[in-house]
Point group: C2
Chain length 721, copies 2
């Protein structure tokens, strides 16, 4: 079978019979394409090094790991790798937890596993009776599965598999997705179709998607999922729905993914028949205890509750004169006996609070530092407003050392062009994680707060608001898959570089060809700055159109709550533009550590990317490059448009490296993005020009429509609203 002529003929034929119609399916497979390794030298090296699988243990997780390994290799190596019952043959992949390994194998280990946590893994080249093998082991089954995915990644990215000695372990305990999925199938801020969860057909119908969802998440180390919206419906806690949740939990369990639910604070009234949801009421406490018990009887490894309380109309403890600590601790007590967690969200702001919205969460939560139960973690968005293209890090990070804080990133693209704009978000995540809070002096980065090292927290967590829907490609935009992937990678290790992650993703998803990787990686890395430039440059924020947050709406000023209006945020007038949050203004800067406050407070030291976030400046204010603010703003908008044009040009050269369907999809979407970047530029500059009273500088294209035209645009039925 290895006769060279035969292989040659086979390759020729494989090429000829490449089918027409499978490309729509590439999209579905995300970064687990497991396409045949194209580089023949590398492929033949892999072939020679992998000759069988020897799997120890029979848990569902080990079975999943073994199946994944077989499946992955059958694609990558284009042949079936047989399961072996012993280690007599050579070049085996040996899979199993440490305690299942026999003495001969264990002799190959040093103390690698002692140095890593329960979810970590080891991939190591070993010898048994002079035969070479590759061992993938861990303390736990799930560690083995993570090891398998990471071994497959080596092949997917064409790396060497010789002399392997890789240890790796996650730096954050809880790495989770938050699905804002409603029980009616819609997804709040979802732009990739509708909810994955088919509540109608659950519990008896298990969609193959649920399994692929779990596999895919496990491949990047995600270990938790909140399957329903933070704007919660209490029905999810009824037996009818818990039976369905139980089935999902069962499907996810072998892949190490725990299910969490959002808890609607008023559930004791709505489904419990009580007259109050007061957390001090004995019946209420008892109701939640019994509810927790009921859930854990069905789902012994249930993760716990995520709660949005007294925020944007959601019920909460304040309805009864209690506070966030009272509410969170009551729920924490209910799940504590079963090892459950409570994620209490800090995304609060009030129309009754006249203070700067950016200050309100800090003001409300920081006084509670140290008062929450041990199994409560406070979930904080990365910025103080709401998932903008760019925000300075949230001042709560570093301000509550006695309380574990969990990061909430957005993977879905509210305020970011939905799933029509290519924006590589790990650049944003990295910027936030690397931000220095100075809370314990220089080097007190957000990452160190999140992973517990700075304040010595045992419980650590990170959440991403999912961009997943039932579109065939899961995320609406083929490149939005990279945001899901990148979130998972950074959740595992918040110190990783987003460039490395982009490259891995491209290799796994599309191609290992250098002529593809290099330009497309650059395109991805530039994309986040592009969106900032064409939407909200120089620290502008929240000037999106109302409600759906799609497209520009800096003119909107008629909403009932002042802090819902874009005019609240940009404060443009004839004198200038920007929100003065310095000590001469709202003094939001004072919520940061003194070292940081000083930098932001001073218009000279304040990073220009955050300038209008912290300062209201004259249209004639000169930036460091000597240009006046008005011109600089205009140039930034133009630059954003130019960057998208350049992304288009790059992609148009990639036809050769990508299947036809995905190539065209991305091409069409980049065209939309280009059109809409111009729309943003023209609408915003025309609007701000009313105040600046200045001409557009040379080099900035003239708008082709009037401001009234842009104001007249309506988007009925915009998704996710």
């Amino acid at each position: 079978m290895n006769h060279p002529l035969f292989l040659y003929l086979l390759l020729q034929l494989s090429f000829l019979i490449a089918p027409f119609n499978i490309s729509a399916q590439e999209d579905y497979k995300l970064w687990l394409q497991y396409k045949k390794v194209q580089d023949t030298k590398i492929a033949s090296n892999y072939q020679s090094k992998i000759n069988g699988i020897y799997a120890l243990g029979n848990s569902e997780t080990i079975q999943a790991a073994t199946k994944e390994m077989q499946s992955g290799l059958s694609g990558l190596l284009d042949r079936t790798i047989a399961l072996q019952q012993n280690t007599n043959s050579e070049n085996l992949l040996i899979l199993g937890i440490q305690s299942s390994l026999d003495e001969a194998i264990l002799k190959n280990l040093k103390n690698e596993l002692d140095l890593i946590n329960n979810e970590g893994y080891l991939i190591k080249s070993i010898q048994l009776k002079n035969k070479k093998h590759i061992l993938i082991t861990a303390k736990t089954d799930i560690g083995v599965l993570y090891g398998v995915f990471n071994f497959l990644k080596l092949l997917q990215t064409n790396q060497s598999i010789e002399n392997l000695a890789i240890t790796d372990a996650p730096k954050i305990n809880i790495r989770m997705l938050n699905h804002w999925d409603n029980l009616d199938g819609t997804v709040e801020r979802g732009y990739a179709g509708f909810s994955l969860w088919n509540w109608q057909k659950l519990p008896d119908f298990i969609d193959q998607r649920y399994i692929d969802y779990a596999r895919t998440n496990a491949s990047i180390g995600i270990n938790g999922t909140v399957i329903n919206n933070v704007n919660a419906n209490a029905l999810i806690l009824t037996p009818q729905y818990l039976e369905k949740v139980e089935t999902l939990a069962k499907v996810f369990r072998p892949y190490g993914i725990k299910v969490y639910l959002t808890a609607r604070f008023s559930a004791p009234i709505e489904i419990g028949g009580l007259k109050t949801a007061d957390p001090f009421d004995a019946d209420v406490k008892n109701w939640w205890k019994e509810k927790a018990k009921e859930i854990y009887q069905r789902i012994p490894d249930f993760g716990g509750f995520l709660v949005k309380a007294n925020s944007e109309g959601q019920p909460g403890p304040q309805n009864y004169g209690r506070n966030h600590v009272d509410g969170a601790n009551m729920l924490a007590d209910a799940v504590a006996p079963f090892g459950g967690m409570v994620m209490w969200r800090a995304f609060v702001y009030s129309e009754h609070d006249a203070d700067d919205r950016a200050k309100q969460a800090y003001s409300e939560f920081v006084p509670y530092d140290g008062k929450f139960r041990d199994n409560v973690i406070v979930q904080v968005k990365n910025g103080a407003i709401d998932f903008q293209p760019r925000e300075p890090f949230h001042p709560m990070f570093g301000a509550m050392p006695k309380t574990p804080l969990m990061m909430e990133f957005q993977i879905t693209q509210e305020y970011l062009g939905f799933s029509t704009h290519l924006v590589y978000l790990p650049k944003l995540y990295q910027e936030v994680l690397e931000s220095d809070t100075y809370s314990k002096g220089k080097g007190s980065t957000v990452a160190k707060i999140i992973d517990g090292t700075l304040d010595h927290h045992k419980i650590t967590g990170i959440a991403g608001v999912a961009n997943i829907g039932n579109d065939i490609n899961w995320t609406g935009h083929p490149f939005a898959q990279a945001n899901w992937y990148g979130f998972g990678r950074l959740a595992w290790n918040p110190y990783q570089d987003s460039e490395t992650i982009a490259e891995d993703w491209l290799r796994m998803t599309f191609s290992n060809e250098e002529n593809f990787i290099k330009p497309v990686k650059e395109m991805m890395l530039e994309s986040r700055e592009a969106v900032v430039n064409y939407m909200t440059p120089l620290g502008l924020h929240h000037i999106m159109d109302t409600g759906h947050h799609y497209g520009p709406g800096p003119w909107v000023s008629n909403l009932s709550r002042p802090e819902w209006n874009p005019t609240y945020y940009h404060k443009a007038d004839t004198k200038g533009i920007g929100f003065d949050r310095s000590k001469t203004g709202s003094n939001a800067t004072a919520q940061y550590a003194p070292e940081v406050a000083k930098i932001f407070d001073n218009v000279v030291t304040c990073p220009e990317k955050d300038l209008l976030w912290f300062h209201h400046l004259s249209w004639d204010y000169k930036l460091k490059n000597g240009e006046k603010l008005w011109n600089s703003l205009a140039f930034k908008y133009q630059e954003g448009v130019n960057q998208v044009a350049s992304m288009n040009a790059t992609w148009n050269k990639m036809e050769h490296y990508v299947d036809e369907t995905r190539f065209k999809e991305v091409q069409m979407l980049l065209n939309i993005q280009h059109k809409e970047a111009k729309w943003w530029r023209d609408a915003c500059l025309l609007y701000f020009q009313q105040f600046s009273g200045k001409e557009l500088p040379k080099g900035v294209e003239k708008p082709t429509q009037t401001l009234d035209y842009f104001k007249s645009l309506q988007f009925p039925f915009a998704p996710g609203n």
Copy 2:
């Protein structure tokens, strides 16, 4: 390359490297799987007879036909069939319209094409200079495309391709899908996810699905689609949406599919700024004329409007004291200059009409016979109530000889278990089409009315309310694909046998193995009678639970409109059960031709399957088999359950013939169906037992739950509601 050893090795290897993860994609491909022909003798015959493609013409449709042929053959024959520039080589597939053929080819034709209509095709084995070829030709491009799909079907179903001389042409002009898709992405009565149409991303993003939708529909001859809900939103007629519709029309055009829209009768008010929508108002008439002009400027082959007027709360001409003719003719005048059609629905009933709901559409429409414009067709549901598992044919068929009537079948499964129940609906369609209206004496079948032969109508039509959504498998249930397929086949030729259609579908979709075909075909054919038995046997109807129509609700009697209550339909009391529609009752029977009325009127001649539709009978009434009604009813419910059990048993033996994903999907769904068949039996029999006061006969399983339990079941967020 044809060395036998090589082929042997290749086959061995192909088997070994069968990938793991592609099976989820089989679902997507519907009946166009184009899998490699498995029977080696047949395959080798095909290989020897097909050696190239010679395509004449360069229209988009011919290009699509050529691409489909290549794509199909590359799968079926497992090799690329090259395009040829001439007929020098042998065994070519020659594609092209008659007028593009050269003299040498034309000599092979007799008058085959003269005998068929513009959409028909000819597939014929011919000789050119002693070389054998296969010619696929037609009068029009679309005929060629239909010919290509039908040639591929020959291969897909393993039929001979020697001495071919096939002519075929559709018997109905307008063969269309009705999508009840809302602009917010939900689908009324949709159980396969959400709408295919991504209005947010249109017009600039063309989902691959739109193309595959068009291809798939063309493969069965569908040539029209109403893309939005009959409960219409006027926004679809605004320029913003028409631009999106235009794009869809452009995508569908090469596949011979015309786009139609629903017209909300009050659109002139809602989007036109008029104060009335009175069809006699000059401004209103003019508004529609201008709107039609605007649409045709964008979409020159726009099909026309489908209208639901003065029905279930929809606005209509009666709001202004006008009638259906006034409304329909006004719209017809607007589209007539452009060759457009108006489909006016006859699905009307009123809460202000105390008469039997089953009689109201007839009463309202029949007096208008002959009064509609030539480009109006009245669209009538197959039965007089609403898409029940079984209804007698609608009395309007045969009663309006001067008006073309269009059939409206339901492909989606409202009242039929959603997409969780396997119900092969072509059996239902066939039963209706074969029904004899006696309108011009014996043999005046519904099919002959629909296809225009009985009353000599030039315009003929048939519509199916689509079961298509954005689920990966399009229809929610793998076997629901057969209903889409079967509808298309019967729309093309309403005289076909549903058994043949089932067999073709199975062969194309799953396997040509006889051991699979025979039992699974039987399962499909029995499935429709099964659902009648376990839901609504012996003529019962509309006893589904309220609103969502999922599951049994014969007890519901509290709805505001009497004819929405199940109790209105079954009229069970201590004396008996059934709706007396005979001359002693509502006299609905009088709406049929005298011959039919006589049969239905007489309880002795009335078919037992329709018994309780037409008669209220004592619980002790004896059926033809000598059993009393109560016992018969109970036996029917039990029989339905047994049939589903038997469907389960059949399917469980099919694992060997079907990919793992689809096998398991169907298995899980059949389990749900079995559970729910028992639910139907138990709930209905417990409820009716209150009136009959009789024990369940032997052989009928005892319910395991109480009637109160069944009454307590709630289905919040049931889809499609």
